[in-house]
Symmetry: C2
């Protein structure tokens, strides 16, 4: 392995380890020696890459911000109903909070009152939700009389709730939980003509989830 490659791998391992320790202990309690031990590198190697704990926290936040941007940009780039775009992106973000320790660590830092970072993950997510819902209203995808701004606030608040409650109980981040949320919300938000075409469980490939489980919304609205 060439030197540069090894350095990149060490840096990656340090960011992963820092994210895990920040998520478990909070910024103040997290110690650099716990982080380097967890990453399997020496204290010297840690200091070669990061001058202090704040720089590690910034790297975690930047990694989480990139993951959120990747999710929202990929969702926006797909063709189709803008409400479905939001449904899909919430599934992706909750999945990332459950399985990507850098995303979990970044959001834990965002909610850590002892740490005040530069980057606002929650604001980034909120702006995208608002932009997409505004677009949905423009395209007639929202039900009559439903405010895009109020709808955006419901979605932003609920996903912030999933994020926080999911720190203690991962079932809040599960595809099943997010699907049940949309089963309640979509019939109120979506224009009647589009509703049958929307999938609460998302439309992105979901390994391990049988296709028939994705049609819960259609079943419940056809009663």
């Amino acid at each position: 392995m060439v030197k540069q490659e090894r350095a990149a791998r060490t840096r990656h391992a340090l960011i992963q380890a820092a994210a895990a320790v920040f998520a478990e202990e909070g910024f103040v309690t997290a110690s650099l020696s716990t982080i380097s031990r967890r990453a399997g590198v020496s204290n010297g190697a840690l200091h070669f890459h990061f001058a202090n704990k704040s720089m590690l926290a910034e790297a975690v936040e930047a990694g989480a911000a990139k993951a959120v941007r990747d999710i929202t940009e990929a969702a926006s780039a797909r063709q189709g109903d803008s409400l479905q775009t939001v449904v899909d992106a919430t599934h992706e973000l909750m999945g990332a909070l459950a399985h990507d320790i850098v995303v979990r660590g970044g959001f834990e830092l965002a909610g850590d009152c002892a740490y005040r970072g530069e980057c606002s993950l929650r604001a980034q997510w909120q702006e995208w939700i608002e932009d997409t819902l505004r677009g949905a209203a423009r395209n007639g995808a929202l039900a009559e009389g439903v405010s895009w701004a109020d709808s955006a606030r419901v979605i932003v608040a609920a996903t912030a709730g999933f994020e926080v409650l999911g720190g203690d109980d991962a079932s809040w981040l599960s595809r099943q939980n997010v699907t049940r949320f949309w089963d309640v919300i979509l019939p109120r938000l979506a224009d009647r003509r589009n509703l049958a075409g929307l999938a609460s469980a998302g439309t992105w490939p979901q390994p391990g989830i049988p296709a028939q489980d994705r049609s819960s919304l259609r079943a419940s609205t056809e009663q």
Copy 2:
């Protein structure tokens, strides 16, 4: 002032000060000398009442738990539609998070990964929401085909979101924000025959809010 009275006032001032410092700095960073200074008492007086920081945190959590219990018990004791009971209690809880520093401090401790207390404020709130929604389903107050359990999860997640987002931006805790949430949610949750009788803005006395502002739901559903 008799001795006992003075002791009770000191204890009260210490709990208020501790709640504020925990909310601002988190459990780990909060120092006993900051708390005693803020309460306007000596370090000795603090130690007379509380042996250590954890005991102060427990007192804050117990105060917050009592406030939540007062809110939910008062809501349950009132006659009327069970969905309106939930609407009213969410307004009260968000108001308490905005204006009662012990409630704010208690919930900040509940979300502080560096502190693990005994009492679970969020679980207490969730249980009450679930019990009340289950009762609403039994009484036919929910719309056909709407699951009480899914509805409860939406409300628990959204209120957890308001709580967390409200730590940085108090507008999430405002009566206006909570009213707009219910404007979106109630038409989906409530049985059609009851909907017109429900007030998104709550039915408890609200000093300073003109009565006509409480009827936003009715206006929006009568379009």
